[in-house]
Amino acid sequence: MTNAIIRPFIRKPGSVGLVTATGTPTLDAIHVLGANRSGVRRTAVIRKIMCYNNTGANVTLQFGTRDFTAPVPLFVQMVPDLVALNGLHNSWGEDEIIPVEFSLVLLPTVNGREGNIYLLASAANVVVAIEVDEFGS
């Protein structure tokens, strides 16, 4: 028997809802972290990604956050590239997505991560929605 530690979470859709990708180099916000009354940010883990690609070619999707300490906020990729195949509905579930925790918390090797989840798509017009687990209070 194993004892798994399950942290309390709220499962919800990405706060921005259905996003139509703008395409490189523009980032599309896809989930903004909530905050409690004391201003403490929640964290989030992507549990599901769904998209529809009717652009005429395969499109690469990158999910990540921003490094806000750079002069111009930099994209920080957090999940390996995903390829949205042309003409298909593509989806990835929680057993396939690495559970990276998007957080305002700084990591030792990384400058200030904003924590909000952004999409960087290699081409425009892929339609994307995600589902996240938010941790916190």
């Binding site: 706060s15 989930h31 903004v32 909530g34």
Partner: protein
Amino acid sequence: MEVANLYDNGPISPICQIKEHLAIQTDNSWKPFEVNFIEPIPRSSALVVDLINVFSGGVGGVLAPGASIAGQLIPVIQCDDNELIHLRWFVIDDIEGQLWQLSSTARFAPRGAQAGVNLFTPTFDPWLATTTFWVLGTTGNRDARIGCTNLGGAVLPQARVGFFGYRYLLESEERAHPNARYLPSQGK
């Protein structure tokens, strides 16, 4: 049904039987009553309130991330004279609700903060025992006010809270019965 202590950490139960006695604190005094009638108020759609709807007077609207609605009078849990409502409550949307009684007395409030009820509350307290409060039908204390803050990163079209519990009808007494149970129906 089993009679519970005031804040028992299990399912909600009446805090006395019919014909037993209560001394209820309100306006900083203990008012003695005999209980004449008890009925349950099950969790139901009628006692789910959208604070955005209440705040806007039925017009509707949205609650932006981080935005708050000040305490609103909640008509569905108001009392008549000699009536006591015993409630637990929960939120349905990603908000944190806060409770005020006697118009502006913050409930669930240690010195440094006022606690609230949010979507995580039933995770830590499945029976919502820590959300227990009472509304007494007597001058100055027949109301409860609920306000809320949007804790999520999304704009909310609804900010719903719901209530369930028991309703007691009371008969005023001259003095507190020796076996009366004392309960606080307000904050201090």
